[in-house]
Symmetry: C2
C-alpha cells in the first residue's frame, strides 16, 4: 500500500540529470508501453509521443525552452503532442476496435457517430484543448510509471510550443506540442540537497461530501 506513496514522494522535478547514465532499451520500452496503455476519453488517444534523442535537435529545442539544461542533459526528451481529433481519427479508432476485438465494423457505426457528434459539438479550439487534456492524462500515467520504476523525470511547460512544432516537423503531421518530460537519472549529489517537497495540506485540497 505504501510503495506507491514512497515512489511519488521519491520523485521530483529533476533539474540536474546525470549525462552519463542512459535509460536501458528495456526501461525506454516500458515507459513507452505505459504511455500507450494510458486511458483517454472514448479511448481515442488523440496525441503522439515524440521521443527525442538526437543531440542537435535537442540543442535547438533547448534554445526555445529558456535554456533549461534538462532538455539536453536528460537521457531522453519526451514530447507529448496533441492531435486535432478529426473524423478520420475516429474512423481509424473504430477500425482498430474492429480489428482488435473481431467486431464487425457495421456494428460500431453507432459508436462512431456518437464520438463524431460529440466532437462536432465543440469548436476547433475546444477540440484541440480536449485533445491536450488527454495528453496531460497520459503525462500523469507516464510520470507515475517512471516513479514506480525508479526513473527520474521532469515534466515541463516552459517552452515555446510553436517553435517545437516547427523544429520537430509536427505541424505537417497535424500535431501540437502540449507538454514535455525530460527522462533519465538525477545526479545523486544534487538529489541529496534537493529541497523538501511542497504540497498543499490535505484539508485544503480534499472536500468530503
Amino acid at each position: 500500500m505504501q510503495s506507491i506513496i514512497q515512489a511519488l514522494t521519491w520523485r521530483e522535478a529533476t533539474k540536474k540529470f546525470n549525462t552519463e547514465k542512459k535509460l536501458t532499451e528495456e526501461q525506454l520500452d516500458t515507459l513507452l508501453e505505459a504511455a500507450r496503455l494510458s486511458p483517454s476519453s472514448f479511448g481515442l488517444q488523440p496525441w503522439n509521443l515524440i521521443v527525442v534523442s538526437d543531440p542537435e535537435v535537442r540543442t535547438k529545442l533547448r534554445e526555445v525552452s529558456w535554456n533549461q539544461p534538462q532538455i539536453t542533459e536528460a537521457s531522453r526528451l519526451f514530447v507529448f503532442a496533441a492531435q486535432m481529433p478529426t473524423p478520420e481519427l475516429v474512423d481509424a479508432f473504430v477500425a482498430n476496435i474492429s480489428a482488435t476485438r473481431g467486431t464487425p465494423l457495421e456494428s460500431l457505426a453507432g459508436l462512431s457517430q456518437m464520438i463524431k457528434g460529440s466532437l462536432e459539438g465543440k469548436s476547433e479550439t475546444e477540440r484541440l484543448e480536449w485533445a491536450k487534456k488527454q495528453a496531460y492524462l497520459a503525462l500523469g500515467v507516464t510520470l507515475t510509471s517512471a516513479a514506480v520504476l525508479g526513473i527520474d523525470a521532469c515534466p515541463m511547460e516552459g517552452f515555446d510550443p510553436a517553435k517545437y512544432d516547427e523544429i520537430l516537423g509536427l505541424t505537417e503531421r497535424g500535431l501540437h506540442t502540449t507538454v514535455i518530460m525530460a527522462v533519465g537519472f538525477r545526479i545523486a549529489a544534487e538529489a541529496a540537497i534537493a529541497s523538501q517537497k511542497v504540497r498543499v495540506p490535505r484539508e485544503n485540497l480534499v472536500i468530503e461530501i
Copy 2:
C-alpha cells in the same frame, strides 16, 4: 519492470462496480495522498478533489451524467475540480513554500512575481484551461496509483459540469468540475467477459527523432 505494465493492462474503465465492496479507510487515504503528491505546473495545484460518498447527492449527480450507474454504484466518486488561479492562490502557495522549507518569504518574491506574470499573460479562459490540464495530470497520477493498488476506477467525461458545480456547491468556492473518476471494485463476473483493451499500435503513437 513488468509489474507497472501488468497493473496498467489489468485496469479498465470499470462499468459495473460491486456495490457491496467498499474502499477501506487505508485505501481511500492512500489514493488521496497519491492525488496530493501529484505534480503540477509551478507546483501550484490549482484544483480540489471532491470525494462524494453521500448517496442522495450521488443520485442527483447520476441524473446529470447520462444515468451512468458507476456514479452511484462505485464505492466513492472522485470529482476533480479546477480552481481559477488567482494572485491569492499564488500568495498561499508561496506562503506554503516558506512554511515548509523555512525560506524567508522575502526571498520568494521573485518566484511569486514570475508565476503571477505568467498567469497575467493568459486570458481568463486560458487560465482556467491551464488549471484543468493540471487536474487531468492529477487524474493520471491517481488512476495509475489505483491500478498499482488493485483498486478499480472509471475516469469519465460524460456529465454536465455546470450542474455538478451547482449540486456540489462548487461555484461559490471558485471551483469548476473538470473530470470525474468512480472508484471501487469491479464485479468479477463482469470482468471475466470484459472486452479486450484497444490501443493504437506503438508505431502509430510514438515518433522517434
